[in-house]
Amino acid sequence: MNWEVVIGLETHAQLRTQSKIFSGSSIAFGAEPNVQASAVDIALPGVLPVLNREAVVCAIKFGLAVGAKIAPRSVFARKNYFYPDLPKGYQISQFEIPVVLGGGLNIRVGAGETATEKFVHLTRAHLEEDAGKSLHEDFHGKTGIDLNRAGTPLLEIVTEPDMRSSAEAVAYAKALHALVQWIGICDGNMQEGSFRCDANVSVRPTGQKEFGTRREIKNLNSFRFMQQAIDFEVQWQINEIEEGRAIRQATVLFDPDSGETRSMRSKEDAHDYRYFPDPDLLPLEITADWIAEVKRGMPELPDAMTARFIVQYGLSAYDAAQLVATRDTARYFEDCAAAAGLENAKLCANWVMGELAARLNKEGLEIAAAPLSAQQLAGIIRRIADNTISNKIARDVFEALWAGDGKDADAVIEAKGWKQITDSGALEALVDEVLAANQKSVEEYRAGKEKAFNALVGQTMKATRGKANPQQVTDLLKKKLGA
């Protein structure tokens, strides 16, 4: 039998605010346990929540970025359950009326020119508070509770069950990850738990309309684990069904060491969250004026920017999408193209995605931390374009500027004497010398060995220490050899 995989994702994005969603505690990561847990966060008797305006701004930005409806009035509800890292015995969340409804994300599945596009629909996104952390290391057989994270603002983003493979799920997660950083509402740090995904996975015989029973894989904190966990889970479910066992709805954890998913024991009791509107918080009103104000402060969105890059810079859809991977990359490229001139935009794109990306990757640097500015790179590109230097020399200039050796391309070229030999008389003399010194190659070429010609080009370039224009050298050699 053929099986179809159905996946929906729920993502918890920690919002980039200064303070918690309902208290004035810091949300900075890495503090000593419980020093960022105020009276409100530890739920002392009598304390009350007050909503952080910035968390709402983040939700509005997200709603605008995914083309969703932003609820003019949404409601905070209590989700009741007991857990030691949940101090109030309930989580303040949104249930019946979330702040963001609908919308969706374009995702690109696969790489290169064979990639396919897909639109993933969002069900909703809602504001809620994070729980604290349970530390299971041994405290005499006990669990330690750190409530620093309790009350950190989260946006929970829920998709429709639109994804049909682990690759689609990962592509969606990556696109969402890029988007929340792009609009500045989440730092995207997955190690620190700022961006966590849960995957609802089910399988059904191809062609069947009804969904199969789903199991939820909790806390996938890397894209690689997400792929592995979903692939394992899908195979497990198919095996179960094929062996005649029904899938039971469950919450499971992924163990990266074994590569397997396993049922969570603590979630086995049937939950009854008894959601009801939080009487301590009034309805959240978001006016059209407020939305308009937030919109004015929003950056251009990735899809719009990709489309613009194609038209404005004459880039391929693939190149444009690559450059729009992050806001910093896009900004670097645009700064570079602005300084190098629109006619050199394609060359800028090649350098940003090629030499620069490779070098950053090698050093483990973000583009914002590149020692070479967009203007410096543009200086190199201008000298390539006007034939002052060859591509090979350009790479040397790039290295020099990367190392801080010189203020711009022209200064480096001048100081190192790397200017391309464009004087045809001087070049002709050099070619004559090379031909005289390499009679053997000349004879082989004349005997029909094409390779010998390349050797002569190489020798000439070597004699110019790379400063000649390779095309000019080729032309000259051909003329001299009477080809």
Binding site: L44, L51, A55, P84, G144, R265, P279, L282
Partner: protein, 95 residues
């Protein structure tokens, strides 16, 4: 509609309140008395009536995003039954 002992046990579990077998029986009777009393609400036609969750009809006020709290861990943990290394301790949680 009247509660069974199983219903009482389920509600007590959700509420995290331990009840002995004897308490379960008295609780069932008392809760059924109260539920019988509130049952009269069912007879009211509330079609089209908006539920009233708050005593006042105002919208949520928003707090500026500022850090206003300082570390008071020592004060707070002086109240706790069991702490170690700045953490609250509880019996081992099994995930």
């Amino acid at each position: 509609m009247s509660l069974t002992l199983e219903d009482v046990a389920r509600i007590a579990l959700l509420s995290r309140i331990e009840l002995s077998a004897a308490e379960r029986e008295t609780t069932r009777d008392q809760l059924n008395g109260i539920l019988g009393f509130i049952e009269q609400l069912q007879a009211v036609d509330t079609t089209g009536i908006e539920p009233m969750a708050h005593a006042v009809d105002v919208v949520q006020r928003l707090r500026p995003d500022r850090i206003t709290e300082t570390d008071r861990r020592a004060d707070f943990q002086a109240l706790a039954p069991e702490t170690e290394a700045g953490l609250y301790l509880v019996p081992r949680v099994v995930e």
